[in-house]
Symmetry: C2
Subunit: 201 residues, 2 copies
């Protein structure tokens, strides 16, 4: 189940419960879900083996109204999606603070920068200033390629290219980033890439 955010971004409900189908205009496309699902499984793998403690943050909602049925759980009956002010994923690995955003595109030749909010870029820069590790995980769904791109490179692209082209050419992501091999367990072993980067520093 996928539906649109006010900003055009898809919200994807990837829980086990089957949602009731009352709403209109719902797209049942599964697109946009697979990267998040892969990362959730990867993070669960890391946690269960004591490799790292990294979680996806809950979707930020502005809660306006809540009902209390007599014999059942409280129900939020009115809430609105808010723009996230931070990245979606963070946690700790080998003493390092880890902070990242994950995005996919159907584009084949470039990654649109509109996928990132300005607040998220600012957040990544603040994290770097505090000595944390920040990056993006970018997937080109058409070719099923997933890249690790450091926040240093992402922020540099964002700052210098936003007015010109509003996207990062795939060739530059291939050059500055790192292709993450897709596996079974874990699906997207991004910490292996991080290990290589840390050991090369």
């Amino acid at each position: 189940m996928a539906f649109r955010y006010p900003n055009g971004k898809k919200y994807v409900n990837n829980t086990q419960n089957t949602p009731k189908k009352r709403s209109q205009n719902i797209s049942y496309s599964n697109r946009g879900m697979s990267l998040e699902k892969d990362l959730n499984e990867t993070n669960e793998y890391y946690r269960s083996r004591g490799v790292a403690v990294i979680h996806k943050k809950p979707t930020p909602l502005q809660i306006v109204d809540v009902d209390y049925p007599r014999r059942s759980a409280a129900v939020v009956t009115e809430a609105y999606f808010k723009k996230p002010s931070t990245t979606d994923y963070n946690g700790v690995y080998r003493g390092y603070h880890i902070d990242f955003e994950a995005k996919e595109t159907k584009n084949k030749q470039s990654f649109p920068l509109k996928n990132f909010h300005e607040h998220q870029i600012e957040h990544m820069q603040r994290v770097l200033q505090q000595g944390g590790i920040a990056f993006a995980i970018l997937r080109f769904t058409a070719v099923d390629e997933t890249y690790f791109l450091s926040a240093e490179h992402l922020c540099s692209f964002y700052m210098h290219r936003q007015n010109e082209r509003k996207s990062i050419p795939k060739s530059e992501i291939e050059e500055k980033g790192h292709l993450i091999p897709v596996g079974l367990h874990p699906r997207i072993n991004y910490l292996k890439i991080l290990d290589q980067i840390i050991s090369n520093e």
Copy 2:
């Protein structure tokens, strides 16, 4: 505005928008809000001065239904509160991963351990294992005293005392923890306490 979680915990809507008052059984008590508000202001102070990047995570909700009015923003019309599986606050400070939970009690002599979920305690232990810094900020509202208690002590209390007394005596928090002086800017300078702990190690 404050209302009850299914688990008895209060949900506090601390946003600028005034919520519509349609729900029943709402308690308008402001209790339970002040510590969160103080911490949000403190974290905003830290961020604005480049001291640290620490955020409160959004309230975890299970979204079940969303409506799309034609000319306005998407509205979540059915959602349920979920138990948090992590602590509420995390971020990065001087290269350290910071992870903490904040709770208040009206009790005068002890802090009830039922305020902490088992998942949160396990999460703190995992964070410690990864070399992160984890702690609790505990407020006794009756005397307006706020303490910094390391996760090492909190987890030890939780593991050994849960079946016996299900609370931590205030005297032990005074002994093992650190009283945080309440100021104006920032309101709760918990990183100052952390600095002292780090420099004493």
